[in-house]
Amino acid sequence: MADSTPDVTENPEAIAGEDRRGFVTRLMAVICGGIAGAVPFFSGLVVILDPLRRKGGGKGFLRVATIDSVPDDGIPRMFPVVTDRTDAWNRYLDEPIGTVFLRREPGSTKLECVNAKCPHAGCNVDFNIPDRQFHCPCHDSNFEANGIRISPESCPSPRDLDTLTVDPERLQHGEVWVDFKNFLTATTDKIENE
């Protein structure tokens, strides 16, 4: 190895020329090597960022139940939201995509609907009938039957349960159609998870 090292120590001009050439060589080495490495890396990066351009979002109004299945006793009842669902390369027909609670006050024809997903970390809440409270099994957030946090100052959830719109026109015909959406968790504001 030592034998082949070029001897550049004799002539100062040669040293300067060697430095210039050396800089260009180093620069070119970095550029060539960098491109060679960057092309495969960025081609992968583009693919892995694909989910950013995909929109999940709401699927418009979906039929959830009939008003007969929601007795007017002020107790929220759980219903699955069923529609066609796409999971990457698979399409599933009539699959549950989420869960909602429907509730009707005594004597009322108005229907309240909340998404069962806890706005804190996304676990599904359950309604505890004896306490008349929603309870999240993960970090103990509690909500009133109408979805309002029981004590906002000590509740892990940053906001009340997410209300969803029930189509008033179809409700008059006894059918419950809900504009089903999921929202980002852990945020104070209700931001749709698209």
Partner: protein, 622 residues
């Protein structure tokens, strides 16, 4: 031979490599307290070996992940052992990491000139925690699914890029195939690759500075090989023994009847992940419990402190330990900080465990989760196996699982299903009604139920039969109380014949075809049911009967009869105009979307009411 090795050394220089690796000087000689680093390297090697084999059997997609893990655990020979070792070694690694960190800090081994190595160690710790988190999701069971969901949902809290970051990690807005492909690539490729790189640097830098001698007592120096290697090897064996103890521990206690032994050996496998289910037993693995508990104390907008800022600050404090250690009291401060941190983590973990232990809702949820898990395995092992739509459909199409859920949701405001506590059916099968106004449907259609119904002392008592419906004061009740009690009109034997004939119609209990007396009784009962002076005065039974206004007794309480009844109880075949409050659940066959329940939901509920579901060992029913 020697000349061959000399040639090889000349071409490769392997001897100096081996010398460097084996004949490192250990000042003060080999010691047991130096084994911890080596046990960590050992556990990582175990994970690489078992992980590669698991990889050969695992399929990362939301339709095949649980299925392939089930296959490893329950069907492949020794699969439970391989998976068990991988599972418990992961936990051993966390424990050993903590011990290693504590030792390094107490010994002051983080101080100059070993700062860089200390930082490399902290990075390694992050990678191992990342491996633990990503590995938890891969079986795609309920527990891993929901616990990991919490972790990725909290990513939104990362400032500015939070929601984008979450999407990239999850592979879309919701969990699915892409989540598994990503987590698996991280778990089996990216993170182990990084870990090997960092571990290489960690060991290289460690060798550069040598071991931090433990104490001042002057024992002669020794070489790494063989004295320290022996101690390391013994320690690794001990670690392996502990791991195997946990893998095999389940063999010591007795399982449920019929349950395969693999359910108790090695790592557990919950029910397949179902995003639409109500899963209330979500907890992270025990070593993340303290973080889980910590999060409970942060409310609303302060969440970001609990999830990101404070854990980040703690990691930051660990990173600056080498600088703090330079001050006079710095080392003491560092040790103190670690002690406080340790107490904090232990206390939070303890509180989490104590809270869960006294939380009835959580304990019920855990029991339900265990039942679902056992049920999913039972169905996967049934002759039908796992269908091509995946294992999630096992529980979704199981009457035993869905029946109580559907009944509670749609029927329990009027009907109860008060089942006696029974180990095989679980606590979910006894459902009370808040306001029982209609019959209790437990075992309805059974001989016991029909006998009680035709018993004058029972028919209008309590809520088992007509409860508080208008039929409580109806003709059937007066018939049972007045006519059936008159021995001139109905002998005991005749009543029993009718009961037998109705039991045969329901088809829930089979009547012995070789029992001649029973068969005669059955024929007699059928005649009585058709008798225009008796039952057929009000009820139809096979023959045309224009006078019938009570419910049709043809196929009474059979599967089809009950399905049709639930679809439209006010149909002329059933209660007609005298139907009391019961809604029609599936009246419109042409527009299924207009019905309260789908055909499949009604079938699931009816099969459940009739006790008609797959049970291991009762394959005849299938």
């Amino acid at each position: 031979m020697n000349s061959l090795l000399a040639w090889l050394d000349d071409r490769t220089g392997y001897k100096s490599l081996v010398n460097e690796a084996l004949y490192e000087n250990i000042p003060g000689g080999s010691r047991w307290r130096y084994v911890w680093g080596s046990t960590l390297v050992f556990t990582f090697s175990v994970q690489v070996i078992t992980g590669l084999f698991l990889w050969m059997c695992y399929s990362p997609s939301s339709r095949s992940a649980w299925e392939s893990v089930y296959y490893i655990q329950y069907e492949m020979q020794g699969g439970w052992l391989l998976r068990g070792i991988h599972h418990f070694t992961a936990q051993a690694m966390i424990v050993l990491l903590a011990l290693h960190l504590v030792q390094v800090v107490i010994d002051g081994a983080y101080k100059a000139p070993r700062e860089v190595n200390f930082w490399l160690g902290l990075i390694l710790m992050q990678i191992v925690l990342g491996l633990a988190l990503t590995g938890y999701l891969l079986p795609w069971d309920q527990k891993g699914f929901w616990a990991t969901n919490v972790a990725t949902n909290l990513m939104v809290l990362v400032p500015v890029v939070g929601s984008d970051l979450q999407k990239i990690v999850v592979g879309g807005p919701t969990y699915g195939h892409a989540t598994l492909t990503r987590f698996f690539a991280l778990h089996a490729g990216v993170l182990p690759g990084l870990l090997i790189m960092m571990l290489g640097l960690h060991i290289a830098v460690f060798r550069r500075h040598g071991i931090k001698a433990a104490s001042m007592d002057k024992r002669p120096d020794q070489k790494f090989w063989p004295d320290q290697v022996l101690k390391d090897a013994v320690a690794c064996l001990a670690v392996l023994a502990v791991i195997l103890f946990f893998v095999l521990r389940g063999a010591m206690h007795e399982g449920h009847a019929g349950e395969p032994i693999q359910a108790r050996l090695g790592a557990e496998l919950g029910a397949p992940a179902d995003p639409a289910s109500q899963y209330s037993a979500a907890r992270p693995e025990w070593y993340f419990l303290f973080l889980f508990q910590f999060l409970k104390y942060f409310h609303g907008a302060t969440e970001v402190f609990g999830a990101i800022v404070i854990p980040g600050m703690v990691m930051g404090m660990l990173f600056v330990m080498p600088f703090i250690g330079r001050w006079k009291l710095g080392h003491g401060f560092n040790v103190g900080m670690l002690v406080v941190l340790g107490i904090g983590v232990a206390a939070l973990t303890a509180v989490a465990l104590v809270e869960d232990r006294s939380d009835k809702v959580y304990k019920d949820a855990v029991r339900t989760a265990e039942e679902d898990s056992a049920r999913a395995i039972e169905l996967a092992q049934s002759p039908r196996g796992i269908p091509d739509v995946g294992a999630t459909s096992l529980l979704r199409n199981d009457p035993k699982t869905q029946g109580p859920i559907l009944f509670t949701r749609h029927c329990a405001s009027c009907h109860a299903h008060e089942a006696p506590a029974s180990e095989s059916e679980g606590n979910r099968h006894s459902i009370s009604s808040r306001d029982p106004s209609a019959p209790d449907l437990y075992k309805f259609g059974s001989r016991d139920w029909i006998t009680g119904f035709l018993d004058p002392a029972q028919i209008d008592q309590g809520t088992r039969f007509f409860a508080t419906t208008v039929h409580k004061d109806g003709e059937m009740v007066s018939f049972v109380k007045d006519t059936l009690t008159d021995p001139d009109q109905w002998t005991k034997q005749q009543i029993d014949a009718v009961i037998t004939a109705l039991v045969a119609e329901a088809g829930i209990e089979t009547l012995d075809p070789n029992n001649e007396q029973l068969q005669t009784r059955l024929e007699e009962g059928r005649e009585l049911l058709k008798d225009a002076e008796r039952c057929a005065m009000c009820h139809k039974f096979y023959d045309e009967n224009d006078d019938a206004y009570g419910p049709d007794l043809t196929g009474y309480r059979s599967r089809q009869w009950t399905i049709d009844f639930i679809k439209d109880p006010a149909h002329e075949r059933f209660y007609g105009d005298s139907n009391d409050r019961m809604p029609a659940y599936g009246k419109d066959p042409d527009n299924p979307k207009n019905n309260i329940l789908t055909q499949r939901e009604i079938e699931l509920m009816v099969d459940w009411l009739r006790g008609d579901w797959y049970e291991r060992g009762h394959e005849v029913n299938e």
